[in-house]
Symmetry: C2
Subunit: 265 residues, 2 copies
């Protein structure tokens, strides 16, 4: 039984998966809220008798057919060069999955919406992709890269937001040194919005399978201090998302996608 | 009537003071929540008749005697050199003033508590000061500097937290170039805790009056995106403070005070 990693004292167990090494006897794993963990700990320190009643209804269901959801603006000059902004649609099932990863999905859609609302025409194709099955196998991300390869698509850049809808601190970039240097030269454009660095190294689970195609990958890195107050817990709800922080994350993605679209990589 | 500056749609008017230039007829000023402002704006756009009933009970009360609250650890080697960590005790009276500035007070106390808990003996004197009357005249800060001058105290450094108990991004430093350079050399010690810069220029309202005494001033700069969801509004309450963010602010103050105490300026 694992104590939640949040620093808050609350009653929202931080759930997760249990993995077993081969040959090890499988025993159930349980998530324990900080309040319950504190109580248990106190009882044990007082050498009080503690009896634990555990009941789990967890099970692995059969696979069902599902889909990535994709929208795009075709590029006006180089439509064959594709830029992806993504998040994932699925969530841990005990809550809405607002921060993991509703915010990433909304921010990805906002990249497209904002560009349309401004009446801008990107030179390259910009896609918003809501990946399916990030939490449990990464099949959406894997299928996306497989299709890209099969169709011989040219994926020059992909950015993912999957670390919560909190205030963005940095964008991480993984690419060849000259590609990173080009992106790094845009850093000053981000600083006024509180994004203080375009740092070396970054990506995301769903866009990771694009790496072998030579795609430059980027990850949105928000401030992490509040993430594990909600991550995979029943309080990962819409009300825990701050509108302004959500918007700044969308801004960071829209800005980097627009710059890559206009200036290439 | 002024619309609240928060990006949230809520019913918490963001209050403030009204100031008049000389010779201008004094009219009342009102704070309007974003929800009410949206409603009003819609009515006006639809050219609907709008009638506004305004009632204000604001008044300037008579002065009453009040106090700064001060605690200190005397320095073991140079007790005459004083370091101040401060916030302000008073708050806008429609709420608890949790972020403005309960968090600054708690963080200042935490500087002293943490050093005591660690059993460390600072070389120089470290003070936690809760200033009175920041919001309405700055008399606590003014009196503190007046006493410092009268008693010929040597105030080498003062840091204030009065911008909300959110995750700290930078510490601002105001001092002579060589003093700033010395503080700047400690920057790498702060980075692992998410404080990415010890930046040039900073201070706080209450410690500002120490400036003419040659005190190096510092301000805690937290991420500002959520501050005006609560600032001077009825929802500036304890529940809006995140424990972890509060602690990281206290860490930033304790660390800078400790470094100045050990290495001087």
């Amino acid at each position: 039984m694992i104590r939640s990693v949040t620093h808050s004292l609350d009653n929202y167990p931080h759930t997760g998966t249990t993995r077993y090494e081969d040959g090890v006897t499988k025993i159930p794993g349980f998530a324990c809220s900080t309040m319950d963990a504190e109580w248990l700990s106190k009882q044990l320190k007082l050498r009080m008798p503690v009896q634990l009643f555990l009941k789990s209804s967890c099970k692995q269901g059969p696979d069902v057919l599902s889909y990535n959801v994709i929208g795009e603006i075709r590029g006006s000059e180089k439509p064959e060069e594709i830029i992806t902004a993504g998040g994932h649609l699925d969530s841990w099932d005990l809550a809405e999955g607002a921060h993991d990863d509703g915010t990433g999905c909304m921010q990805s859609i906002e990249v497209i919406r904002a560009i349309k609302a401004l009446g801008w025409k990107p030179k390259r194709t910009i896609r918003a992709v809501m990946f399916m099955n990030e939490e449990n196998g990464l099949r959406g991300g894997t299928a996306y890269a497989e299709f890209a390869k099969k169709l011989n698509e040219q994926h020059i850049f992909a950015v993912e937001s999957d670390a919560g809808g909190f205030g963005v601190e940095t964008l991480g970039i993984s690419g060849k040194p000259e590609q990173y240097a080009k992106v790094k030269s845009w850093e000053k454009l981000f600083k006024p919005y509180g994004i203080y660095e375009l740092s070396d190294g970054g990506g995301g689970a769903d866009i990771g399978p694009l790496k072998p195609l030579g795609t430059v990958l980027s990850g949105v890195n928000p401030n992490s201090q509040r993430y594990f107050d909600h991550h995979h817990a029943a309080n990962d709800v819409f009300e825990a998302v701050n509108k302004r922080e959500l918007e700044l994350g969308a801004f960071s993605m829209a800005a980097i996608c627009w710059l890559v679209s206009e200036y290439g990589l």
